[in-house]
């Protein structure tokens, strides 16, 4: 592809801020950038914004942002109403082909042709995708009947069709738990949810309200080790695993099912920037500072493409922050700040942002690797936050206030630790 040549045919647009992705982060970012006065273009590859929220028909969204518990589509509706109140342009059914990091041009393709949007700053809000079952390389045939949980969710909730009659769910992350309930309520026999780790991956609330409510068993330290069935799935073999995830011989059991729903992790979508921004190995996405700015100063990122978040309310907060600061950058108003690089200490898995600065109020999001009790978050030796307990499925959010920032010493780095008391 000879990209970014000034083609005679292609449409050219100018914008201050271009937001890539019209999910929760992108819509919040677009609304915030437009409110800050930036000429904003939001690019969405589906035919309307909303992203994955449209298929998340269950409640659990908006408790923090709207003080009400909403379903995904309702949350999306409110966020989209916010952006509609601004003069941000929404370019739907457009797919981003690439970002030219030197010319800062975002090339897209849609049913009306190619568009090249020249931007002063860009916000990446492309979310995360599901790890496919095939990537686990479980040996056996490759029959029909194995669905990524999100795909099963799309089939049931958007298209009104069912993936099968008798199912096992692999992975106890929230998507897997939610789909176990959804399928059960639709008359599918959900035999069990199996989880490789020693604790469930999703919220305890979902374990109770998706599994216990319906008598669906949850098997921990157990996983699928073989697939059966040539054309359509006929069964799976389960086995116990040790801490390293290795199957324990002698614990195998074959279960007859025609459907396998797979929820084995989300991966930040960073294709568009990975050639010019080095990704953070643990988060899986680009490092961002407290203004959601990546090492490329004109490029901001927010949402699941930075690190996999738990609550969409936080994703919207991150999006807004990115929108505000990307607009300021486009105006030339964003002064560089001296960063305080955050270093992961004890019990810190995902961490957003990767650095703070002494002037910017922000929120620090942390994910712990295993369940902990009586946790204390210590930043740069200063105790910043306490809570009764923490689980991997629920991020810890620590407001980074002016007071907290002034309390940090003049060092250029600060260690972040989650201590179990």
């Amino acid at each position: 592809m000879d990209s970014f040549r000034e083609g005679a045919n292609v449409n050219h647009k100018n914008a201050d801020v271009v937001v890539i992705g019209g999910g929760a982060a992108g819509v919040a970012a677009g609304a915030a950038a437009a409110k800050e006065g930036a000429r904003t273009v939001l690019i969405e590859r589906e035919n309307a914004p909303g992203g994955v929220l449209d298929q998340c028909i269950h409640p659990g969204f908006g408790l923090h942002r709207y003080k009400e518990e909403l379903t995904g589509p309702e949350f999306a509706h409110r966020l989209i109403a916010e952006i509609h109140e601004t003069d941000a342009e929404i370019l739907s059914s457009h797919y981003v082909l690439g970002i030219d990091p030197i010319k800062r041009v975002v090339s897209t393709v849609g049913p009306d042709g190619i568009v090249e949007t020249h931007a002063k700053s860009v916000i990446l809000a492309t979310g995360a995708r599901e790890r496919p079952f095939s990537a686990l390389m479980i040996p056996g045939p490759r029959p029909a009947g194995i669905f990524a949980a999100g795909l099963a969710q799309k089939f049931v909730n958007i298209h009104g069709v069912l993936p099968g009659r008798r199912a096992i769910v692999l992975g106890s992350g929230d998507i897997g738990l939610i789909m176990a309930r959804r399928l059960h309520l639709e008359g599918v026999e959900v035999v069990a949810v199996v989880e490789m780790k020693a604790f469930p991956g999703g919220l305890m609330r979902n374990v109770v309200q998706c599994l216990e409510d319906f008598g669906i068993p949850l098997f921990l330290r157990r996983t699928v080790v073989a697939i059966h069935g040539e054309d359509r799935l006929e069964g799976v073999t389960l086995a116990d695993v040790d801490e390293a995830g290795r199957p324990i011989r002698g614990t195998e059991e074959r279960i007859d099912v025609d459907t396998l729903v797979v929820s084995v992790g989300l991966i930040p979508e960073t294709e568009l920037i990975s050639s010019f921004v080095e990704l953070e190995p643990i988060n899986g996405g680009p490092p961002v500072n407290s203004r959601m700015q990546t090492p490329a100063p004109w490029l901001f990122a927010a949402g699941n493409n930075v690190a996999v978040f738990d609550l969409v309310d936080w994703v919207a907060v991150a999006g807004e922050r990115a929108g505000r600061f990307a607009a300021q950058y486009a105006r030339g108003d964003l002064t560089a700040r001296v960063p305080i690089r955050l270093i992961r200490g004890e019990n810190v898995l995902h961490m957003v942002p990767s650095s703070l600065d002494r002037e910017t109020i922000t929120t620090l999001f942390l994910r712990v690797p295993r369940p902990l009790l009586n946790v204390e978050v210590v930043i740069g030796g200063v105790s910043c936050h306490r809570q009764l307990g923490a689980r991997p499925s629920e991020m810890i959010e620590i407001p980074i206030s002016a007071k907290l920032l002034s309390g940090l010493s003049q060092a250029s780095e600060a260690r972040v630790e989650v201590r179990e008391g």
Binding site: I57, H77, V208, D213, L373, Q387, L388, R391
Partner: protein
Amino acid sequence: MIQRKLVCVSCPVGCEVTVTLSGDEVESVAGNRCKRGETYARQETVEPMRVLASSARVLGGDRPVVSIKTDSPVPKTLIPEIMDLVRSLSVEAPIEMGQTLATDVLSSGAKLIATRLVSRADSE
């Protein structure tokens, strides 16, 4: 006197709470580390309530089903019957966000409402 154990879901700790019942009356709650745990345990033991989310058949719309929910929590025990009601519904497009599709489902006091808007199939 019966004792029932449950996990509180109000926060990430997941306290294992023990509720002691005398008949249908809660005598005591133990194991919770905060007040929310007690409130949760009491309700959950006496009458667990849930918001039910599902989808209803759409007629003449730009999509085959519309996402719906109960507008307030309903007794968990009513869920199977409410699902039968949900399966029997057919809603003509266009559908507005929050549109009432059924009132006082199974005398719970809760309504079934649409959680998204649906346009007519022929509209552009």
